[in-house]
Symmetry: C2
């Protein structure tokens, strides 16, 4: 037995016991004839005090002291010793084990360490590149261990919950068929079938539908998914989805199931009791009130429409926008006028132009019972009063106004709203807000490709009451789809699927996917729909993002053990790497042109 | 709500209730003015009886009867009706719901079905190719659903068990680095880094060791692994491993943890109470007594050595074998002499020659108090008596004898032993036998490559007491490795790993892996070993095989939802498939030569 206890376990009840601990030397403090070390493992830290009382004799005490002084940070130690209760007032409140310390009898150096490039016990971190290269050291940091333990806990709770409800976890293939609809696939050349490729799954969508057709009734999988996209800050080439599907269900059934899961997670992971059902908001409402389909509802600051006033006013920018069928909308930051100097507003304006393509950013400050701003001169008193009233502004408030297309004003005002709320600390960053967004449009028009594209995916069913609109007004047809939004992030989404072969064909045809293409890409699903597909629907949660939100972190890389960089490289293993000619030859492929530099 | 109950749920206690069920029309039987249908879902089958008493009136009953007669096998139906207790003696014992039937009030056809190419309710199955092409229909068969539910249950029990013990489930990357040691990798071309490749993991071995170095202490993952090998009957290009690793452990700790898991699985899945610790056998013992390192211990029929007798006898084949330092060994099938006619023995001999490369297969039958066989004439009475005594043969027994090298005789006698035990029904196919094999050799000599190769893998530690042998007699050095064997299958295996950088380098050097190669392939592990690696070890179970054994099935394809063929093709989706030129161009690769035919 290497150890009798972990480094997080001992309390004053253990006083007098002889224990053996193993762990890393977190740090060491020498003081006269004493040496204090903190021994660290995943479970906590225990102080071991090397003093003249250590060991069985003064000679042993001295030998132990000499030995521990040869140890350095991150050495792996085994300490046998007696648990000593610290005197009253001498507890270390910073440690869960702070009521005790260990008086060593034996010290074994299990392994040594060079000076580590990432030091787990020091809050100052090196660059993220160094952290990623020495990930095994970065992962020794208690914060990282906590984050991954929380991720484990989320998944365990989810598995217990779904198991209780009769879900079966079924593994679907990683080596699948490339279906170029959607994002770019990662491809895997086949050796046996020269010139052919597998694709890594972007999601198990088709397989989970097939499992419903196969009668599995309730399916869950923690599924690795792959997308070869140019990565944004919060994306990874491989990511994990909590993937579920249910048969003989309506939207209400799936959302109700998910409400129960979210409530359990909130309670067990965050200690929050949620009221169920979770609140719901229509997509149209979310865009109108927040400019975004995943609004952060931890704070208000809703968008306020001024288009009707703009239509009548004399200010040509507003009036022109309104006349062109576009929108003039505002967000108001209460009491924040002083915080936005002219210079700060200029910076905000440049930022909005650059990030959202707006032509300008107007503002009003509430002062002296009226609204003040450079553009105020374009408005007569009546309009100033009407705007002030609509915006419910008082002295000290500041309003930002965007006059642009609906889409651009949504993007810009959502961005502004999030930025202002953060800058003005309008919410407790430790608080949580959960809600559903429903009534998404089924289709949107892709002006470039001149065709309808599926907002969700081509297997999503329309709301039953909207199905007829597919023939008359496809734009107005709403989907039986739902997204779960947490703190302004889309944490997951799903839909009721099409189980009717004729309707599926109709949707493919609306999406301009011809019969041959449909057959080639989704033939096996279309086949399956001919043999008794049950009504079914499901949902998928983004586990990386969910864990990030629950852990209160800003980057999904902090909840992934071995993440990749924005250039999809693993700085620790050096993946992707060069391979032997022989390997490529066996796969019947050849590299056309190669990157010059090493990554 | 689509349904109030499942098709497996109703009992006589429900009599009188109005219920709604959904499911597939399993089969239909018409009889006069009656129609009986069996409605099937994952949970069971319920009989719905369309009779003149159905519906609210005779007219409705007639309409329901007409409607149900338009339905065919595998139609998806929703039935609302009253639960009726069947009269005493009228129960259907074949159904768990056989105490009741449902008298329908409403019938909704939720979906139709063409005539299915695989019929779930019919025991006669089409060819496996058809089953794989229409896998979603094959998976409707209750046997397949049971097998996958059992697989789910195994994993759930494992997760509960490891969670209780403080294991964290951590996901390791799928897009890793190619390390051509071992089996062939599946490669994934990188788009961002032209000419470079990711490799899909053959196992998370290095990552789990890094997690130990990172201080995770106890790790578990249900890990998808990939090997691009020419497939044998029981292999798949992607397979699933229950992968575990622990820090500060000896072999005893890992085996003890696994004993507990196996015992829990045996109890909860199979209803068997196991005695712990599970029995252990050394590798040398297993090879000597069974000719195999994963012996089936559900029956005896141990190998019996005759080499010492052979050395003295006059029969030149035996004597020559013994003199050359090779072995003469036998298996005895008690009371089976009559079952092996001369013709059957000839067939067995050809089979052994073909499969194991033996030169011949000798036999003796016990009869008239002595041994009879064509070769008996080469032995005098004394030797016949000695052989008879050694083999403990009596009249009616038959012994098969192989005179060959140790390796060949092991292979052949293991094959014979398994074949005879099956033919002679020496064991209950529903019984289970669990054991550990330990004391494996650390290295074996690869005569072709003229170097030592690792029997387990190059990260396996030697037994502490054997470590010095690495310098003096590497062949004799035993590894701190262990395999778990169930019913003659290796269900999993593991080892204590090397945590000492110097020892790891020494092993690489023994394996003829030079510094540069080691650095290139495993550099990040060697790096990590410099920064305080704890003593650690682990194990991996083959989930597919474990589920197959527990389900009492013969093929791992029957416990995998969407398996591939022996040529690594998915007959349902058509993977692998052709991809667009554009996709290849983005990846900077070109196909050198392509397979002619479609798969």
């Amino acid at each position: 037995m290497f150890r009798t206890h972990t480094c997080g376990e001992l309390r004053k009840e253990h006083a007098g016991q002889i224990v053996t601990l193993c762990g890393w030397l977190d740090h060491q403090r020498d003081q006269g004839g004493l040496s204090f070390i903190w021994l660290r493992d995943r479970y906590g830290i225990t102080q071991v005090t090397f003093s003249p009382e250590a060991g069985a004799s003064p000679e042993e005490a001295e030998a132990l002291l000499q030995k521990v002084r040869t140890c350095r940070q991150e050495f792996v130690l085994q300490v046998k010793g007696e648990v000593i209760q610290r005197p009253e007032g001498g507890e270390n409140k910073a440690l869960a084990t702070g009521e005790i310390e260990v008086r060593p009898l034996e010290l074994v150096i299990l392994n040594r360490s060079d000076v580590p490039p990432v030091q787990p016990s020091i809050p100052d971190l090196p660059s993220e590149d160094v952290r990623l290269q020495y990930r095994y050291l970065d992962l020794r940091r208690p914060d990282m261990q906590k984050a991954l333990a929380l991720r484990h806990r989320i998944v365990k709770i989810m598995r217990d919950y779904t198991d209780e409800l009769g879900f079966l976890e079924v593994e679907t293939p990683m080596l699948g068929r490339s279906t170029p609809e959607g994002a770019r696939d990662y491809l895997v050349p086949s050796r046996v079938h020269a010139g052919k490729f597998y694709a890594l799954p972007q999601s198990p969508q088709l397989y989970k539908q097939l499992l419903m057709i196969a009668g599995f009734d309730r399916y869950v999988q923690v599924a690795r998914c792959f997308r070869d996209e140019d990565l944004r800050a919060d994306r990874q080439p491989e990511f994990t989805q909590i993937d579920m599907e249910m048969s003989f269900v309506s939207m209400e059934d799936v959302m109700g199931m998910m409400d129960g899961l979210i409530a359990r997670l909130a309670k067990e992971v965050l200690g929050i009791e949620l009221q169920l059902p979770l609140p719901r908001m229509s997509y149209a409402d979310a865009m109108e009130r927040y400019g975004h389909d995943a609004p952060d509802l931890r704070y208000g600051m809703e968008l306020i429409d001024l288009t009707d006033i703009a239509k009548e006013c004399e200010f040509s920018v507003f009036r022109g926008t309104a006349d062109a069928g576009n929108r003039v909308r505002a967000v108001v930051a209460k009491g924040a006028a002083d915080k936005y100097s002219r210079k700060a507003i200029d910076e905000l304006t440049s930022w909005a132009k650059e990030n959202f393509g707006v032509k300008g950013l107007a503002f009003f400050k509430g002062a002296e019972g009226t609204l003040q701003a450079p553009i105020a001169k374009f408005f007569n008193e009546e309009f100033i009063a009407r705007i002030k009233e609509r915006l419910e502004m008082t002295d000290g408030d500041i309003a930002f106004i965007i006059a642009d297309t609906f889409e651009t004003s949504c993007r810009a005002l959502n961005g502004l709203r999030r930025r202002l709320a953060k800058e003005l600390e309008l919410y407790d960053p430790k608080s949580f807000s959960f809600s559903w967004i429903v009534d998404f449009p089924m289709l949107e028009w892709d002006a470039e490709e001149e065709r309808w594209v599926a907002v969700h995916h081509p297997f999503t069913a329309p709301l039953p009451e909207d199905e007829a609109l597919l023939d008359t007004d496809p734009r107005a047809c709403r989907a039986a789809a739902y997204d779960i939004v947490i703190n302004g992030f889309e944490a997951g989404g799903g839909s009721i699927r099409i189980h009717d072969n004729a309707l599926q064909k109709k949707i493919f045809s609306l999406l301009n996917i011809d019969d041959e293409t449909a057959k080639d890409r989704f033939g096996f699903l279309l086949d399956a729909l001919r043999f008794g597909a049950p009504p079914h629907g499901g949902i998928a949660l983004g586990l990386d993002r969910l864990a990030m939100i629950f852990a209160g972190l800003d980057s999904i890389r902090d909840v992934i053990a071995f993440p990749k960089t924005a250039r999809a490289a693993d700085l620790m293993s050096g993946a992707p790497g060069l391979v032997d000619e022989k390997q490529m030859k066996e796969l019947s492929i050849k590299v056309e042109k190669a990157e010059k530099t090493q990554n």
